[in-house]
């Protein structure tokens, strides 16, 4: 009991700190995240800037705080969209069965077989540097996991007597989803969401690694990691800071979700 409480408390602290940074950071930190000073590039931490400067002499702390807004909302938006799509489709597939189920299943298989990265790469080629192709591509690649989980759990839950009883009482699908399916799905969905969040921010980073990232000079955690990568031995703290924040967010969400699962 208490260990579960500790886990949740740590999780809430991690997520809370990141969200606070995102909300208050840009407000409290005076430095302009876009302001360059090439003569003060890669300054070490604890000088004028708490976390030092990046390769263009920009304040890493200010960039982290502004990036938190984008990254947190980006990760949350992609993971939430994927969750919504996957859960919705999974529920419909499980409830309707038959041809709907088969079509949704085939769609899921095909999406899984189609490398997610390819989807993002192609979408990103439509609008280089823009935000929406990354979001769309990542959400489209992520929904599959939610779908598979929801369909499997919902299928077995729908066989349960409680659902049969609800049907006998004349309840519709919506009621059954709300009362009998969602309560069983939420913990696992929460864990998946945490991972989806991490995966989407890491994916942005991977994409900018292969040259398909967000438009500079937008500060974003994933982008920052890639940008600072060449300076790993001169500015390790600056490189690790965004990675650390992403880690804290993922770990925090995972602990909050209460159940760590696939």
């Amino acid at each position: 009991m208490s260990s579960r409480f500790v886990r949740r408390a740590i999780g809430a602290a991690c997520v809370g700190a990141v969200v606070l940074l995102a909300i208050l950071g840009p407000w409290l930190i005076e430095a302009d995240p876009l302001r360059q000073n090439l003569r003060a590039a890669l300054r070490p931490p604890f000088g004028d800037d708490l976390l030092g400067t990046d390769h263009l002499g920009r304040s890493v702390l200010a960039r982290l705080a502004h990036a938190a807004r984008l990254s947190v909302s980006f990760g949350a938006a992609s993971a939430a969209s994927a969750a919504l799509l996957g859960t919705g489709l999974g529920l419909v597939a499980a409830l309707r069965g038959g041809i709907v189920d088969r079509v949704a299943g085939a769609l899921c298989d095909a999406t899984m077989a189609l490398p997610g990265l390819l989807l993002v790469l192609i979408l990103a080629a439509f609008a280089p540097g823009a935000f929406w192709p990354l979001y769309l591509g990542i959400a489209l690649a992520l929904w599959v996991e939610f779908f598979r989980l929801v369909r499997t759990v919902a299928r077995s839950r729908l066989m349960a007597p409680e659902v049969e009883a609800a049907r006998l009482f004349g309840f519709g699908d919506l009621h059954i989803v709300k009362r009998h399916l969602l309560p069983h799905l939420l913990p696992a969905l929460g864990a998946l969401f945490a991972f989806g969040f991490g995966a989407s921010v890491a994916a942005v980073s991977t994409l900018s690694f292969i040259g398909v990232g967000l438009r500079p000079p937008t500060p974003e955690w994933g982008n920052m990691m890639t940008e600072l990568l060449p300076y790993y031995d001169e500015a390790p703290i600056q490189l690790l800071a965004p990675a650390g924040l992403l880690f804290a967010t993922v770990l925090g969400l995972q602990l909050l979700a209460g159940r760590d699962t696939k």
Binding site: A113, L114, P115, L118, V144, S205, M225, T249, T261
Partner: protein, 314 residues
């Protein structure tokens, strides 16, 4: 054995569907891309210094890029039936032959990584489950989250720095020595092991709380035998089933790891194909990845059947 035949037929059908979908989707997406295809191909072929309007016009004429799109798609679909994936627009080589060459490297790397992750992840997961709530478990959970949150290139660079630059015990990149396998394989495997350890931990915990395990204990088996003979096998089913999902991550990892470690594989080819809009190559790589996925998933299916008699007899 009718079950096996049916499962095979199902997978075959899925493969066909995937092939069709991937081919058509790639084609339309690539077709709809903004910009001039001829220029991209010329850039990829001759390098930035030599791309010019003249080179692009020559490319356009040579590849028939001015033909209607549907005609080119129909060509591709007809040819696929003859296992002819066309010719790479960039290198001018047969896509099929390039794939055969690159697919080997990628499959080798993927299998090695899967094997290594299977060696590390599930045993760790079982270990964490046996110590659930204790310090090693907490560390393991955090480490897994860290590995999931860190993009794989960061992990790769870190390994490269430590083992190649500082300790100089392994080659940093390349593929000509047996040791060359270590870094790319380990990088990929760490990411995979992170997830599979979590899945295994979860599955093992669930099994350990089951009445089968309680009975195995009360019938007199020692804890080691209980875990070895009952917990592991029962936890294996969901873990193996999860492999199917994990393969998706493998693809992403392969793309990064191959470009980081100069590994001549299909992930590498895929990125180049997208950037150059080399549609036949794009269709070919995506198709190969899709079919590989279907194949590996079929393998996972059969592994599940082998492990669980209930699936076998269903």
């Amino acid at each position: 054995m009718g079950g096996v035949g049916r499962a095979l037929a199902d997978r075959l059908l899925q493969a066909l569907f995937v092939a069709l979908l991937v081919g058509v989707l790639c084609f339309f997406l690539a077709e709809a891309l903004p910009g001039d295809q001829a220029f991209r191909i010329a850039a990829a072929r001759y390098g930035e210094d030599m791309v010019s309007g003249i080179a692009a016009d020559a490319v356009r004429a040579e590849l028939g890029l001015d033909r209607p799109a549907w005609l080119r798609l129909a060509d591709w679909l007809l040819n696929i039936a003859r296992i002819d994936l066309g010719v790479s627009l960039v290198s001018g080589e047969s896509v099929f032959e390039e794939l055969v060459h690159q697919l080997g490297s990628t499959i080798g790397l993927s299998l090695a990584a899967l094997a290594l992750s299977a060696l590390v992840g599930p045993p760790l997961g079982v270990f964490f489950a046996l110590r659930a709530g204790k310090l090693p478990d907490a560390i393991g959970t955090a480490a897994a989250a860290a590995l999931r949150a860190l993009p794989s290139f960061a992990v790769g660079i870190a390994l490269m720095l430590v083992f190649a630059s500082w300790l100089a015990v392994v080659p940093a990149a390349g593929y000509d020595q047996p040791q060359s396998w270590l870094l790319p394989t380990t990088t990929l495997a760490l990411g995979l092991a992170a997830t599979s350890s979590i899945v295994s931990r979860q599955a093992t915990l669930a099994v350990l709380q089951s009445s089968q395990i309680a009975f195995a204990r009360t019938k007199g088996l020692g804890e080691f035998d209980v875990v070895r003979r009952h917990a592991v096998r029962n936890a294996a089913a969901p873990v193996v089933a999860y492999l199917g999902v994990q393969l998706v991550y493998l693809v992403e990892g392969v793309v990064v790891v191959e470009s980081l470690f100069a590994w001549p594989g299909i992930g590498h080819a895929l990125v180049h194909a997208v950037i150059a809009r080399d549609i036949p190559m794009l269709q070919g790589t995506a198709l190969a990845m899709g079919l590989l996925f279907v194949l590996l998933n079929a393998a996972v299916d059969f592994a599940c059947r082998a492990i669980d008699p209930r699936v076998r007899h269903a």
